[in-house]
Amino acid sequence: MAVKTIAGVEVKVTDDGYLEDMTQWNKEIANEIAKELNIELTDKHFEVLNYLREKTIAKEALTIRSVGKSGIVDIKQLYELFPKGPLKFSSKIAGIPKPTSCI
């Protein structure tokens, strides 16, 4: 665990760079983490991020399959929004824990 300053805020992050406390998250933090991953966030990205955060609060397991059935994006679009890390990168940007699902 480490403390990192993202978008002017001191946040606690894991060794992998995931936020320890998802309540510390805000849009500026999301933008800054996304920039590190070479992703420019659009409204569509935020729809996905908000969905992931809602599901995490509801303690539902996240898979790319469930995101694909969310009605927000299909799986192909999810890969387009978060290339090479549809669940890993989106979770990191959403300020939620590293995904534990295999699917």
Binding site: A61, T63, I64, R65, S66, G68, D74, I75, K76, Y79, P83, K84, G85, P86, L87, K88, S101, C102, I103
Partner: protein, 167 residues
Amino acid sequence: METKEKKPLEKVCIICAKGNLEDVYASLVMANGAVMEGIETNLFFTFFGLEGITKKSMNHLHTATTGNPAMKMPGGLPFPTMLGGLPGVESAVSSMMRKQMDELGMPPVDEFLEMITAGGGTIYACRLAVDMFKLTKADLSEEVKDIITIGEFYELCDGDRTQIIFT
């Protein structure tokens, strides 16, 4: 001096040569997992593995109830081999297993194949095995890109951070 630099995988080429439910899913989970990690992924189906991409059979795969020493009864007692050979038992056990997998959020095979190609993974069928089982491209899932020879498959496996996985 010892080098400690990490060299992440860049490409995996996965071969699925068996048509049991568990063997096909092992290949699918590994392939999908690789795609999700941003690893270039080729998935090659050969011999009985073709069951996993044949439209008619892919969503009805069976697990072996005879000759499978790991098979257990519900509750954990060993599954008697004699019982496994009775008509209908393999079918019933297999459908029960598919149901359990569904409850865990594992997609049926056709959807799993779509998930892999949606992320940029590529699926191939083996030329020799397709000919042997007298199949055509039309018998195979739409997600299958091509029917290729083993030589062509090896050509796809270039690169020094590439691994071939045989399940």
